[in-house]
Assembly symmetry: C2
Homo-oligomer: 160 residues x 2
DNA sequence: GTGGTGACGTTGAAATCTGAATAGAAAGGG
DNA sequence: CCCTTTCTATTCAGATTTCAACGTCACCAC
C-alpha cells in the first residue's frame, strides 16, 4: 500500500545520496592530488595492512570492499603492476589466491594516510558533534549487519 | 598535528563507507531486477520529471547528479537511444543543450518508482526511527551545503 | 575412487567512466 | 567591430567495470 516515503524520509534519502556522492568524489580527488592512489587502492592497502600476515584471500577482500570478483581481479592486477601488492597462490586451497602487501605498498599507505585522514576530517568529521557521530555509527553499523545478512541469505539457496 | 581520527570517528567512518557501498549496490541490483533502469537512469528521470517543462540543461543536471560533464553526455546519449529522453538545443544559449523527458521516460519512471521506493524503505528507511532520520537529514544536508560551497569556491579563481 | 556439484578466481568482450583536448558560442573590453 | 577570455557541451583515447563463460580444484555421496 505505502509505496512511497513520507516527505521527511524522502528529504533524508535525497540528502544522503547526493552528499555521499559528493563526498566520495571529493575524497577521490583529494587522494589523487596528494598521492598516486585511488580510493580503492587505499582501501585495499588498509585492509591488507591490518590482516594477519598482511595478506588476504581474494574472496575475503572482495567481500569487505564490496567489489565483484572480476573487479577485484582487475584492481589487484593493477596494484601488482605498480608493485603495491603481490599475488600468491593459496597453500591450503589451490583454487584460491591471496593478495599480499609489499614493502612499497606499506610505504605508499603510510605516505597517503595522513593526507587522506585529514581530508576525511575536514570534509566530514570535523563538522560532526559527538551525538551525531554516535547516531551515524549506530545507523550504519546496523545497516551493514543487515545488508551482509541479506546477502548471505540470498547466496544460500536455503530458500523457504 | 592531529593527522588521525579518534577510534570512535574511525569506526563511524568505516561503517558509513562500507554500508553505503553495500546499500548502493543492493539498490542497483533491485532496480535492475524489476525494471530496465540503472540507478543513474532512475535519478535522471526523477530530476527531469520534477523540472519545469520536464527539461533541464546538461550542466544543471550534471551538477545535481554529481556527474562529470562527459559522463552525463554519455548517460543522456544512452537514455536517448532507449527513448527515455530527448535532446534539444537550448534556444537562449546556443552553446547549450537540454535533456527532455519523453512519454516513454515518464512511463518507465512511473513503473519503476514503486519498486525502487519499496527497496529504499526495506533496505534503509524502515529500520530508522524518527530521531535517526532527523539526525541523518541534518548531517547530510549540512554536508551537502558545505561540499557545494567548496566546489563553487574552488571553481571561482577568486583566490585571495 | 569416480562422478556430480559447487566454490574460487580469471578471462574476454562489451559497456561505462575519466581527463584532456576541442568546437561553438557568449561576454567583455578596447 | 575585433579580439581575447570564458562557458557549454561533446569527442576521443584510454582506463575501469560489468557480465557471462571458463578452467581448476575441493567436497560429497556413492
Amino acid at each position: 500500500m505505502t509505496e512511497s516515503l513520507d516527505s521527511e524520509r524522502m528529504a533524508c534519502w535525497r540528502a544522503y545520496i547526493e552528499s555521499s556522492q559528493r563526498l566520495f568524489t571529493q575524497l577521490e580527488d583529494d587522494l589523487r592530488t596528494d598521492s598516486e592512489l585511488t580510493f580503492a587502492d587505499y582501501h585495499v592497502l588498509v585492509l591488507l595492512s591490518e590482516a594477519p600476515g598482511q595478506r588476504l584471500r581474494m574472496g575475503e577482500l572482495a567481500g569487505r570492499l564490496v567489489f565483484s570478483p572480476s573487479r577485484l581481479t582487475y584492481q589487484i592486477s593493477s596494484m601488482q603492476k605498480r608493485g603495491l601488492v603481490a599475488r600468491q597462490s593459496c597453500p591450503e586451497d589451490r583454487r584460491g589466491s591471496e593478495a599480499v602487501l609489499t614493502a612499497a605498498g606499506l610505504l605508499a599507505l603510510r605516505e597517503a594516510a595522513p593526507h587522506h585522514l585529514r581530508s576525511v576530517r575536514t570534509h566530514l568529521m570535523d563538522d560532526l558533534d559527538d551525538a551525531e557521530v554516535a547516531c551515524l555509527t549506530r545507523v550504519f553499523e546496523r545497516l551493514g549487519r543487515r545488508l551482509r545478512a541479506d546477502r548471505d541469505a540470498s547466496s544460500t539457496p536455503a530458500d523457504k
